[in-house]
């Protein structure tokens, strides 16, 4: 009951955030985004035809009314039809979001788990050569542009100049074998890029926990290293770790990985959204932006509940 009340309060408090995100994005779309009128018309349209198309697109209504419509669409989760392809927006998302999720999930999970493992290792050997090696590697990884990593991975794994093991472009996930063939190279690229940032962040968190008195006490009692790292250090540094992981989720789910999707020609939601921006497909954009904002509010709530789960001292207020 207490939890339910808390959840409701938190969701209400998220309304200004959703309003802000949707308002700013909608403003950008309406006043600065591409105008679809002439895309949809043939050559030499009559003024009546122009009028007709503008009406169909909803361009003739005042801004406030259109924004009101948008908010109603978010509440009912019905975003209508794409201007460009005529498909239902919900169908477009139902098709593309799973692809993006399947594409980024392995890299996301591996990148965080390896990051935590390397950070524990570096922090445990703090100041030693293991630490220096890992942290040097992290700075190295952070300094290479994502785009370079993607291109280099493609040359190394997919082209005849390298190992030529995997398909250059495209996407299929009908069978597990297909999925593995198409997801491997993007995953390697994602992990490579995420690992530097993750390791650095997690190491800072873990080092901070390691300098606490309770860890020194546990060490003095002769706690074995694995147990010390897991029970005394990792468990106590879960709050910042959860925060970092949770807050990357909304962006990963909805915007997917635009660069990987456009480079490997994968029809995920990132690519669809980017195309919607450059072509002015407002229904798709409205759905993606609105859902990201809602997802952010839900994430805030779930994160708070998780804090409570990992640390009983945290009270939900």
């Amino acid at each position: 009951m207490e939890l339910l009340q808390y959840a409701l309060r938190k969701l209400l408090a998220g309304i200004p955030l959703v309003l802000g995100v949707t308002f700013i994005s909608f403003l950008l779309m309406v006043y600065f985004g591409p105008d679809q009128t002439y895309e949809l018309l043939g050559k030499n349209p009559t003024p009546e035809q122009i009028e007709q198309v503008r009406k169909e697109l909803g361009y003739d209504k005042p801004f406030a009314a259109r924004y009101g419509d948008y908010l109603r669409e978010i509440v009912t989760l019905d975003f209508g039809y794409s201007n460009k392809t005529g498909q239902r927006v919900s169908d477009v998302l139902a098709r593309t979001v799973p692809i993006s999720l399947a594409l980024v999930a392995p890299g996301f999970v591996l990148g965080n788990m390896l990051g935590i493992a390397l950070a524990l290792l570096a922090a445990y050997h703090r100041g030693g050569w293991v630490d220096k090696l890992i942290m040097g590697g992290a700075v190295f990884g952070m300094s290479i542009s994502f785009l370079i990593v993607v291109i280099a991975c493609q040359i190394i794994f997919c082209s005849s100049y390298g190992l030529d093991l995997f398909p250059v472009r495209g996407w299929r996930m009908d069978t597990l074998g297909d999925y593995a063939r198409y997801v491997t190279v993007p995953t390697i690229a994602t992990v490579f890029v995420a690992l530097g940032y993750n390791t650095r962040f997690y190491r800072a968190v873990i080092v901070e926990e390691m300098t606490r008195d309770h860890v020194r006490t546990a060490m003095a009692y002769g706690t074995p290293p694995a147990r010390l790292l897991y029970r005394n250090i990792l468990k106590n540094s879960l709050i910042p770790i959860i925060t970092r992981i949770m807050f990357s989720i909304p962006l990963v789910v909805i915007s997917g990985s635009l660069i990987i999707e456009s480079y490997f020609g994968i029809p995920g939601v990132g690519k669809v959204t980017f195309d919607a921006i450059t072509s002015g497909d407002q229904p798709v954009l409205k759905a993606v932006v609105g859902l990201t904002a809602v997802l952010f509010v839900l994430t805030l709530l779930v994160t708070d509940i998780l804090y409570r789960a990992v640390d009983p001292r945290v009270t939900l207020k």
Binding site: V21, I144, I259, F274, T292
Partner: protein, 298 residues
């Protein structure tokens, strides 16, 4: 450090301790060999950029020649690209583009972050704080590349669309850090004393509080500088970045279609230049942070 001077005449601030933060940091930084080496590399890039801006080298980056896909030679140190442009000149001139993007974005987003963060922190709990926090939350919740793409598209005619988009999203991190620091500072005695002798609030913020956040701003500016250069590459690849000029991002974007056919010069040299600058700047930024933030655990 001239930025420390505004505080020198504050009646109650411990001027000695203040001055020694910067001199201690300078001492510590000059003894950090890795940091000094990184700074030297950054300065070298700076000289290349300044020379390109002043017209000393790299000026013929757009010049076409008949020698397409030429290999590296005495005429073309790094070879030529698809339409016979000299890759060495393009890589040099791109350094200028990178510094331009980095400086503009770093300086602007640091100023915006410092001002809004200080306002939110000083008036924490009031409506000003609420609005700034809301704005940060909103900007952080819009997927970065989509937001940048939307703004860059909105300002398509202007060469600064990319810059505006980056400043609009990057200032929030600086803003949050400054807000936290200001909340801490405003409870300290020297601020109370300034308030007690009737110093106006804006003067307190501008002369007594903000100068005490300069160490955060400096480190944060170097981080944003790197982020801006890296984002430029991605945006140029997506066709939303640099126009009517050349950048490492554009070179890599060109290369993306060429490497499959075995033309690697564009890709390799743009990547090497980009990596060198970003790596050196990252190391420089780390050393700066070590020197300026004594509480940080290393």
């Amino acid at each position: 450090m001239s930025s420390a001077s505004p505080v020198a005449d504050v009646a109650t601030a411990p001027t000695e301790g203040r001055r020694s933060l910067w001199s201690k940091a300078l001492y510590k930084f000059t003894r950090d060999r890795l940091g000094m080496g990184a700074l030297a590399v950054v300065l070298l890039y700076g000289v290349i950029a300044a020379g390109a801006a002043a017209g000393l080298w790299g000026q013929d980056w757009a010049a076409l020649s008949d020698a397409t896909w030429a290999a590296a030679s005495a005429d073309h140190w790094f070879g030529t690209n698809r339409i016979g442009q000299d890759i060495f000149a393009r890589a040099l001139y791109s350094t200028r583009t990178a510094f331009e993007v980095g400086f503009v974005v770093a300086i602007a987003s640091t100023i915006v972050g410092a001002l809004l963060g200080a306002a939110a922190g000083f008036f924490s709990g009031s409506w000003i704080d609420e609005i700034v926090l809301w704005l940060m939350g909103v900007l952080d919740s819009i997927p970065f590349y989509l937001f940048v793409a939307a703004i860059a598209y909105a300002m398509k005619g202007s060469p600064f669309g990319m810059h505006v988009a980056m400043v609009a999203t990057f200032w929030t991190i600086t803003g949050r850090l400054v807000r936290g620091e200001v909340i801490k500072l405003k409870g300290q005695e020297f601020v109370e004393a300034a308030r007690a002798i009737g110093v106006p609030r804006l003067v307190i913020i501008g002369r007594h509080i903000l100068p005490n956040t300069f160490h955060i701003l400096l480190v944060q500016a170097t981080i944003v500088f790197v982020a801006a250069i890296k984002s430029e590459v991605i945006l140029s690849f997506l066709g939303l970045g640099v126009k009517d000029s050349v950048s490492w991002g554009l070179m890599i974007a060109e290369a993306a279609n060429e490497v499959q056919n075995g033309h690697f010069n564009n890709f390799i040299w743009a990547s090497v230049f980009l990596f060198g600058l970003v790596m050196a700047f990252n190391l420089f930024s780390d050393a700066l942070q070590d020197a300026l933030d004594p509480r940080q655990v290393a």
